[in-house]
């Protein structure tokens, strides 16, 4: 379970260009659920995901991840939680060009000190799962949009995280690939993972696998639905 307790995020605090990306927000994201944060561009979705995913600290308020208060943790511990607990799927894919799909997928596991052969074995299983076995040695710039998307999902899962976070994952996908993506998320949810997606795409928030939707606008949660 992830709990936000009056979490607030302000950028450029005290400066003329001060901007409140997220107003005081209290929210409970239940474990083992597929939750969607729905809202238009600039509504604060990405900021909310960054706070939940330990990528940024709130300006005020507290955040609890799986029962642990993370706001006051030093950077090292935050990174460890980020690596072990979360798997990220970014809007821009954020794969590293020049590397193969395999190298991109095992990248988050490098600092864990596991043997490379072990990592490759785990990655191979993920490539099989996503029908990418023949692409593992391909450089990522040679992959299609759908393939690149699946590589980012594989990368998000390499450390076997409890929570998968996806930010506007269908922004660069056509309808067919978007549906496939949501089916994959449903499968991950079925495996017992918590899935949190930020999106303003109806193909995402109207998908049958989605169990809970929060509406966000102007940095405030203004509603929730099943």
């Amino acid at each position: 379970m992830i709990v936000l307790d009056r979490a607030k995020k302000v950028f450029a605090q005290g400066k003329p260009n001060e901007f409140i990306a997220l107003h005081e927000t209290s929210l409970v994201i239940e474990a083992d659920r597929l939750t969607v944060i729905r809202g238009p561009s600039g509504s604060g979705k990405t900021t909310l995901l960054s706070l939940v995913g330990c990528m940024a600290r709130p300006t005020s308020g507290r955040i609890h991840v799986l029962g642990r208060e993370i706001t006051s943790l030093p950077e090292r511990f935050l990174t460890e939680i980020r690596r072990k607990t979360f798997g990220f799927i970014f809007q821009q894919f954020n794969l590293i060009p020049g590397l193969t799909a395999l190298e991109n997928v095992i990248l988050p596991a490098y600092p864990t000190g596991e043997r490379r052969s072990e990592l490759e074995k785990r990655a191979a299983a993920l490539f099989d799962l996503f029908g990418l076995a023949s692409k593992s040695k391909s450089r990522i710039e040679w992959l299609s949009g759908g393939e690149a998307q699946r590589v980012t999902i594989a990368r998000a899962l390499i450390n076997d995280p409890a929570v998968v976070i996806a930010d506007e994952p269908t922004a660069h996908l056509d309808s067919k690939l978007s549906r496939e993506f949501m089916a994959t998320m449903g499968r991950l949810r079925g495996e017992g993972r918590t899935v949190l997606i930020a999106s303003h795409d109806p193909l995402v928030y109207d998908h049958p696998a989605v169990e809970r939707v929060f509406h966000i606008r102007d940095g405030r949660i203004d509603g929730a639905g099943p």
Binding site: T46, T47, L49, S50, M55, A56, R57, E75, R76, T79, E80, R82, R83, K84, F88, F90, Q91, Q92, N94, L95, I96, P97, G98, L99, E103, L107, P108, A109, Y110, P111, T112, G113, E114, R115, R116, L119, R155, N159, D167
Partner: protein, 379 residues
């Protein structure tokens, strides 16, 4: 422990693939870096090798040499002077030395002919230096011809070739018997080329030198220590001049590397952001950048030093030879005997590798301590 090693291996693995991804840029950097190390190491190796050569030359030299001068130039010295020197308290022995230069038109080189006091070759035979052996393609059993002062030809059989202990000492040397020496250069008539003096107590050298100068006013006295100091000063000074010129190159390199390192490219910043976002710690990013800097700088260092070694010891430091050797002090043609001063190499290592590593790490650290959420915003 094992996982620590695996972590290092994994990060190093990523570093190497990163370097390969930016092949052009990194190769250019490696080339400039290697050139810098090559230039610095060449000067250092050449200077220390020449100084070493000079000290080898002088190690064999007598403590004191007495030469007669006429109108400021060296002239054969009467053997009668020996008695006057031997009378001085503290002198163990004093002997005449016979040596001279012989021009060989066949190879266009000057030889130094010397009559050794110990183990003098049999008349009719000679022992030659490796330089002559190579130039004349001569080996033991071959015959070399020498023109005598009377216009005749003297054929001498090569009895052996001197060891390559020091090319500079031995290269152009011909050890010859006293009788053959006189046949080539003419009878000595009670004269020697110069006199060598050995003393019981080295601390009395200067006192004895003063006494000789007083007794034999037409002579000059050369002390080994003085020569050693002169050589040392001359080569240190020349090396210093070159190092000073190269300091500009070093400075330029420091500016380039600082600029490169402090201004991480957008691509590199983005990459650091992704690594942080997917769970790399700041220390992992710094470790990666450390390996990156280490791979580039250590490769450049090793490559530069090896190239400098080849340049100095196989090609006689051709780039700097005119400045370092100088035509008047040493022989124009010689190959340096390999000699490496470990402390100088260490200094070079710290002057080139460490600043680069630091210059690479600091900006990466600055980039990696920022929140990774920038990457979420599509930086």
């Amino acid at each position: 422990m094992a996982s620590g090693i695996e972590r290092q291996k994994n990060v190093l693995d990523f570093t190497l693939s990163s370097l390969l991804r930016r092949k052009g840029k990194n190769l250019a950097l490696l080339a400039v870096y290697t050139l810098l190390v090559f230039l610095m190491a060449s000067v250092m190796l050449a200077t220390s090798a020449i100084r070493k050569e000079a000290s080898l030359v002088l190690k064999e030299a007598p403590e004191m040499v007495v030469q007669r001068t006429v109108a400021g130039r060296q002239d054969p010295i009467p053997l009668a002077y020996l008695e006057k020197i031997r009378d001085i308290a503290g002198v163990i022995s004093s002997d005449g030395r016979y040596w001279g230069y012989y021009y060989d038109p066949v190879v266009g080189a000057n030889y130094t002919l010397l009559v050794p006091r110990d183990e003098m070759p049999e008349p009719g035979t000679i022992i030659i230096g490796p330089g002559i052996a190579a130039a004349r393609l001569a080996m033991a059993g071959d015959t070399l011809e020498f023109k005598t002062q009377l216009g005749g030809i003297l054929e001498l059989v090569v009895d052996g070739v001197l060891a390559r202990d020091s090319e500079l000492v031995a290269s152009d040397l011909v050890l010859v018997s006293a009788s053959d020496f006189q046949a080539i250069f003419g009878p000595s008539n009670g004269l020697a080329t110069d006199l060598v003096v050995r003393v019981a107590n080295p601390r009395e050298l200067s006192t004895i030198a003063e006494k000789i100068a007083a007794r034999l006013p037409d002579t000059r006295i050369i002390l080994r220590e003085e020569m050693l100091r002169t050589y040392d000063a001359v080569f240190s000074w020349r090396g210093g001049i070159l190092a000073l010129l190269l300091f500009g190159v070093v400075l330029a390199f420091v500016i380039i590397s600082w600029d490169k390192a402090s201004g991480l490219s957008q691509e590199e910043r983005r990459e650091i952001g992704i690594l942080k976002a997917v769970g790399w710690e700041t220390s992992d990013v710094i470790l990666m950048k450390f390996w990156e800097g280490a791979v580039v700088s250590v490769s450049a260092f090793l490559l530069g030093v090896v190239l400098a070694y080849i340049h100095v010891f196989f090609f006689s430091a051709r780039l700097f030879a005119p400045v370092l050797k100088g035509w008047a002090v040493l022989y124009p043609q010689f190959r340096l005997v390999p000699f490496i001063d470990a402390s100088q190499l260490t200094a070079l290592f710290f002057l080139t590798v460490v600043p680069y590593a630091v210059a690479t790490i600091i900006p990466s650290w600055r980039a990696s301590v920022t929140d990774p959420d920038a990457v979420m915003k599509g930086l």
